[in-house]
Symmetry: C2
Subunit: 191 residues, 2 copies
C-alpha cells in the first residue's frame, strides 16, 4: 500500500554538482547544486536561483564548469552549499581547494573533483515553471584514476556523492546490479 | 592529471524514472527516462523526445506519473526503455506490471515501483537547447516499506536504480557518508 505524502520533490538519486565561475578580478566562486541534469547530448541544464553569486558570475563571463563532487571531498563540497559568495568573499579560499583556468572556456576547473564538464553559457530559459541556465559542454575531463581500461569513466571508481533530498543525506554508489538495454531484454521476446 | 574526453554528458548519478500516461481507451504506457530532475519544489522537468508514445499520450491527457525504479523491478524498468509503445501496442501488458488510476490526476500509477509523483502537465518548454515536459507534482506516494520512522522516504531502503550513462550500467546506493548542510560546517568557522 502506498501512503500519500503530499506534493514533495521525489527524484532519487540526485547528483552533487559543483558549479564554478569567475567573478570580478578572476575571483573563483563555486556553488553546490543538486537540481541539474543533461538536457541534450552536449548540454546541461541547471535549475539554480538567479541571485547566487555564481549565477551572476557565469552570466557575465558566459562560461562555467560543472564538476562531480566525490566522497573524498565531501567537506568542501558541502561547504560550497552552506556558504554564500555574496556574503563570504573568500569562500573559495576557505574551502582549501585549488583551481586552474580551463583550457576550453573562460571558467575555473577545481582540481580536487574527479570529473568536470567545461561549458559555455548556451541559453537562459525563464518560464512560469523554471529559471534554467543551459550550458553547452565543450569538453569533459576526468582523472585517470576514475577511468576504466576502455578509457571511459567508471562509475564504480568515482565515489561520486549522491544527494538524498528526502532527508538531506549524502550517499555513494554501491554495487552494479545490471546493464541498460540488457536487463529487460528477456521481456522483449515474451509471447 | 585530468584527461580530456571530448564533449560527453557526465552527470552522475542519474535517476531511472518511469514515466506513465494513458493513451487511447485508457491504455497504459510507460517509458524509462534518465534525463529528468526537480526544477522547483513542486515541479519536475523531463527532457524526453516528443515522438515517444508516452509523450504524445501525456500531452493529450495533460497528466502523467513519474515513479522511481528499484532493483527488484530492474527487468520491467529496463524493458520500458528498450520497447517502444509506438511499435509494441501491448508493451505494458508484456512487462507483467499492474497499474491503478491515480486518485489525484488522470494517469496510471504503476503498483510495483515504490515511489510515485502524480503530476499535471504544467508546461511544455521548447527552446533551441531543449524540449522539456514540466509536471506540477500534485501528490507523492510511497510504499510504507520505504519510509523511515519519521514518515519520510528513506533512501537507504529504496534500492532505487541509478543510471550510469558513461557505460550504461545500473547501480544502487551504497552507504550514507554524511549529511547536507553539516558535512562542511567546520569550514564555515575556519579563520
Amino acid at each position: 500500500m502506498k501512503k500519500n505524502l503530499g506534493a514533495i520533490p521525489a527524484v532519487y538519486p540526485m547528483p552533487v554538482l559543483m558549479v564554478a565561475a569567475y567573478g570580478e578580478n578572476d575571483k573563483v566562486n563555486v556553488m553546490n547544486a543538486a537540481w541539474g541534469m543533461i538536457c541534450a547530448m552536449d548540454k546541461i541544464a541547471l535549475f539554480i536561483d538567479e541571485d547566487h553569486k555564481t549565477t551572476q558570475n557565469l552570466l557575465k563571463r558566459k562560461a562555467f564548469t560543472v564538476s562531480l563532487a566525490d566522497k573524498e571531498h565531501i567537506k568542501p563540497a558541502d561547504f560550497f552549499g552552506i556558504a554564500s559568495g555574496n556574503t563570504m568573499p573568500d569562500k573559495f579560499e576557505k574551502s582549501g581547494c585549488k583551481a586552474v583556468k580551463s583550457g576550453f572556456v573562460d571558467a575555473p576547473v577545481i582540481e580536487e573533483f574527479p570529473v568536470v564538464m567545461e561549458c559555455e553559457l548556451a541559453e537562459v530559459v525563464k518560464t512560469e515553471s523554471m529559471y534554467c541556465i543551459v550550458g553547452k559542454i565543450v569538453n569533459t575531463a576526468a582523472e585517470e584514476t576514475v577511468l576504466s581500461e576502455n578509457g571511459k569513466i567508471d562509475a564504480g571508481k568515482l565515489n561520486a556523492l549522491i544527494f538524498d533530498q528526502f532527508q538531506n543525506g549524502y550517499y555513494i554508489s554501491g554495487e552494479q546490479v545490471g546493464k541498460a538495454w540488457n536487463a529487460g531484454k528477456e521481456l522483449m521476446a515474451k509471447n
